[in-house]
Each structure stands twice: as C-alpha cells, then as structure tokens.
C-alpha cells in the first residue's frame, strides 16, 4: 500500500501538504490540491488508519459487548448500531461474553488497548462495577437494553409499561386467570415486566396468585416446562403471558401437546416480536420491542459522548413497546359478560 510520502513525491509536494489537502481542514491552493488528488488516485493511496489513530489518539472504532449474537433480540440492535456507525465513519467490533464477567473484563481491556473510542454494553449485571469505573474515567459508555444505574447513559425499554399493557390487554379481552412465565428476577427488565403484570391485575381487582407465576425461565424449553409446572400446581390458566417470545412459544407447544387449543382453551401472549414470531401457529400476539431503533439511539448517543469535550449529564432513554395483536389471544370467558 502506498504511503503519504510516496504520494508527496509523485505530486511534488511535502507530506504535510498532502495531509492538509486530504483533510480539508486547512486551506490549500487549488492547483496543489489537484496535483495531490491526482497522485492519490494514481497510487490508489489509502491513509493508514493505525498511524492516523496513533497520532490522534482515537481509532474511529466502537466496541459492542453483548452476551451472545445468537440471542435473537440482538441482531436487529446490532444492525441499528452498525448503520449509525457507518454514517459517522466508525467501525464496530463485536464481542460475545455469555454473561461471563471475566470475559467481559477481558474484552474491555482488549478494546481499550485498541483505543476504541467508546463502548456499547448489553451485558450489565449487578456485578459490572468495572463499567462504572470506565464511566468515571470519562470513557464514553452507553448501555443498551439492560440498565445499570442513573449515572450511565442507556437506551432501554419501558418494561413496566410493557408488562402492564400486555396484562391489561389480556384482562380487557376477558381473561382472568392469567399466568406469568417470566425470566430471571436478577435482570431489572424482568422485574419491571413482573411489576407491570401485578399492577394491571391490581388495577382490575384480580387477586395476585403466586401459583400462576414462574420466574427464571430461559429459552423456549424452560417456557415449555413452566407451563407444566403451573398445571402441576393445580392451576388452570385461561391465558399465559410469556415475557419473551421464546418462552411464549414453549408455552404454546405445551398447550398444544395437551390437546388444548390456542387461543380457545388458553390464550398466549409473548414479548419481543422476534422476526419469526409472526410465523407461529396461531400467529403470536406480542409486545414488540424496537430493537433496531434502540441500537440506532444507543449508537447516536455514543457518538455524541465521544464528540463532547466535557462531561455531559447522563441520559436514560426509555423507548416504548407496541402491542401487536395477532391470533394467539382471542376472547376470554369474561369478555361477553
């Protein structure tokens, strides 16, 4: 690959002038500029980004640290991030942690060595105090989907409202024995959805029944088991709210396996709106999360943080979810009364 020196020789100017002609930040005479541009073209000159980055103390790269690309909520978010990154001339480095703290630290260190300009995390658990440390050092960090505290910028969803509205919809549709198949309470997002569920029940005067609730499920297999567990407790829900689409699909599988019909015997509500959720049979009613949009916002925010000289007050953006009514929820026993 050609260097700036070779371009300078070919154009008959100094390397400094080539640099200036290319950057556009300093005035250069039109003739000089033209000469330089011609030489650049002839040599197919590509400035060495490492040299540039070393000099300028930044790499035009952002790091993205998530639990696992294979978790289907992430691909749309990643796409949002890479789209924005492209717009501003950033490149994005992808890291999977499997929620392991050591791996997370390993990547943070590795990325800082590489002088990444900022970091987007979607893997914050309570233990992630090292992220707070980064923030304290003035390093640009944005949290995505998962929340930590008020000191760190984040783009998250309104999980309370999502849980509340999903449950409220089931109630409006006439369901009264509404089961909840939820994820781990260690994640704030599941705590919030749970709170929303309880709030909606309380508002409607429906007593809360612990027997209808399973926490800590992960993936469709757990959702499937959770349904049997609820039945095993002697409960006969007329609707089930799975707080992720895979959980809801597992629930649906169990229901069908028992020869029951969705939604006639048991209605099923999901949460996420993964790309495949529309294709289930019956199509899944779900609370859609704007993952792509969240990725876009997080990246936009990060770019702002990178470009701001002094400390900016952290912003927690809370995005709205959208109820998507499909056929897995019908009309329950109380609807026509």
């Amino acid at each position: 690959m050609a260097t700036i020196k070779e371009v300078a020789e070919k154009a008959g100017v100094s390397p400094s002038t080539v640099s200036r002609a290319l950057s556009g930040k300093v005035a250069v005479s039109p003739e000089t500029k033209e000469k330089v541009l011609r030489a650049v073209k002839e040599l197919n000159y590509q400035p060495n980004a490492l040299a540039k980055g070393l000099k300028e103390g930044r790499s035009k790269t952002i790091g993205l640290i998530i639990p696992n690309v294979r978790n289907l909520v992430f691909p749309p978010a990643i796409r949002g991030i890479t789209d924005v990154a492209k717009k501003y001339g950033y490149t994005v480095v992808l890291c999977n942690t499997d929620e392991d703290l050591e791996t997370e630290k390993f990547y943070v260190e590795s990325l800082r060595r590489r002088l990444v300009d900022g970091l987007i995390f979607s893997t914050a658990t309570q233990a992630s105090t090292h992220i707070l440390e980064l923030k304290k050092q003035g390093f640009p960090v944005v949290l995505l989907i998962r929340h930590l505290n008020e000191e760190i910028d984040a783009v998250i969803m309104d999980n309370f409202k999502g849980g509340y509205e999903a449950t409220k919809f089931l109630i409006q549709r006439g369901y009264r024995r509404i089961a909840l198949v939820n994820g781990t309470l260690e994640l704030e997002l599941y705590r919030q959805r749970f709170e929303g569920y309880r709030a909606a029940l309380a508002e409607a005067g429906i007593p809360y029944d612990e027997g209808l609730v399973v926490h800590g499920t992960k993936g469709w297999e757990d959702g499937y088991k959770a349904m049997y567990e609820i039945w095993g407790r002697g409960r006969k829900p007329d609707a089930v709210f799975g707080t992720s689409d895979p959980k809801a699909l597992g629930v649906m599988k169990a229901i069908k396996e028992q020869g029951l019909k969705v939604p006639d015997d048991v209605a099923v509500m999901g949460y996420d709106n993964l790309d495949m959720s529309e294709l289930t049979d019956p199509p899944l009613t779900t609370m859609a999360q704007p993952f792509y949009e969240a990725g876009v916002r997080a990246a936009e925010r990060l770019v702002k943080l990178i470009n701001s000289k002094r400390k900016v007050r952290p912003v927690i953006e809370k995005l709205e979810t959208t109820l998507l009514i499909r056929q897995s929820v019908g009309f329950g026993p109380a609807y026509y009364k």
Copy 2:
C-alpha cells in the same frame, strides 16, 4: 493510559527492555523482568495496540463482511468466528452490505485502511471481482457459505448433496408430486440444491415438472406466495421442499390457510435448521446446516492464511448437512404400495 516510557522510568530500565520483557521473544534477566512486571502492574499498563500495529504492519483484527446480521443463518456463523478470533487474540469487525456491491467495496477499503489482517466474506456474487483482486495481492481472504471460484479459500456446504438427500427422503417417504420452492438461481447454493432435487427425482424415475418449481423466492412471504402460485398453475403437490426454513414456513402458512393439514395433505421440508425451526407446528423437518462450525472453520483457515509467509494452495472445505426428521413430513401416498 500509561505508556511504555512511564513503565520504563518506574522500573528503572529502558523502553526497549520493557518491550522485550513483555514480549517474551528475547531473553531478559529474571530480576529485570520482575521489576518491569511490577511497574506494569502498578501503572496498569496496557500497550497501545495502534502503535504496536503500526510498527508491525498488522492490527490483530479480522473483518467480517456479510449481507445482514438479521438474516438468521449468520448469527451462529458469527459466533463461530468470534470464538476462534478470541482464541488467537483477534478482534472482529462486523459489516453489513445488504448485498450491495458499492457498500461492499466501501467496507473493504475502510477495513484495509485499518490494516485488518484478513477478511471473511459471505456476500460474494458473480460481480465480486474485487475480492479476486484482493486475493491476487496476497491478502488473506476466506469465503463463507457462499462460493466464488476455485482460487479462493472457502468454507461452504455440500448443497447438491443437501438438496439431493432432502428430496430423496421425501421420495422414500412415498411422496411423488414434490414441489420445490427455491431461492435465486444467481446464487450457486440455490443452483446446487436445485440440481440435487432434480438428481433425486431422476434417480427415482419421477419426471421433472417445471410447474412444480418456483425460483427466486426470498423470505417467508415469498414462500407463501410461491405455494399459491404452484396451486394457481393447477398443480397439487403432496410435498413441498422449501430450500430455506423461512420459505418452508411461508409454504406451511399457505397450506394451513387453505384448511389443509401438514403433513397429512401436504408434507413440508425445509433447509437450514434455524434456531426457531423446531418450534413450528408441526415441527419442521429440515436439512440442518452447520453454521457455527462453518464460522469456526472459516476463521481457523483465515488465521492460517494470515500466519503463512508464502502463498498456500486454496482449500475449499465442503461441510455436510444433516437431515433432521421432525413432524412436518409424514408418509405419502406411495409409501404403503
């Protein structure tokens, strides 16, 4: 962040010695080494990877260029690549092209400026001669899933065999009017699956009927439409082979919409085994592609190319697919005869 100079001062040695003590490539006295290591620890020294990369002419980064992370075949492959990258100390930069050649070129240029050490592509169409150009320059390139020619290393699937065996299985199960809902013939992988389909029919003495075949479908919506198109031609297939899971799911949707049963009225076979495919109703029989494994192999191959001084003969690795028998295929009319 501390620099090598600061470490040197603190340890009372020269920067060169610090560099040597850390690299381990050159002998350093044990006492010196210990002093250096202590200083490194105290200052929490992280070597600047840009400086290192500039000096060494490499970045310990690999570029991954794919059409779209949201296409569900990629997340597992990406995971395979990042896992291997981590193992060898590489970082991976993710780029989405939407199959657009200009975008692809843009990224290649941008990544080369950043001195990425190699590139994994999964976006090669006939037009991608610029990839051949890279290869010619001796730049490490590995193709993933999609194939270009014999000169470029690649990790692909045996698509002919996959198409052949899927079709053969349907025939063995007693189906005779087997429709094919295929992707664009511009991609070799779809041409190969089509060839496999024809070969299996021919072998069984079943005449090829063009009316049962639709090419160029993309995503489940097209699969859905394709089913109606086939019926519109007056054909009544007893089985449909969709050459990707989304296509098969779209087909299934159309079949159910017409009040027909899968597999009793029409059997459905997919191709991919996406993470969600097991959850369809009925569970989808499909030809599983080892995407994660392909990512692993491609990254391993790339690392080998990066580390080899002279040109190596290109290797095209062809991975086997696996038939996963689930309930969307039953036993057709000819089975009991």
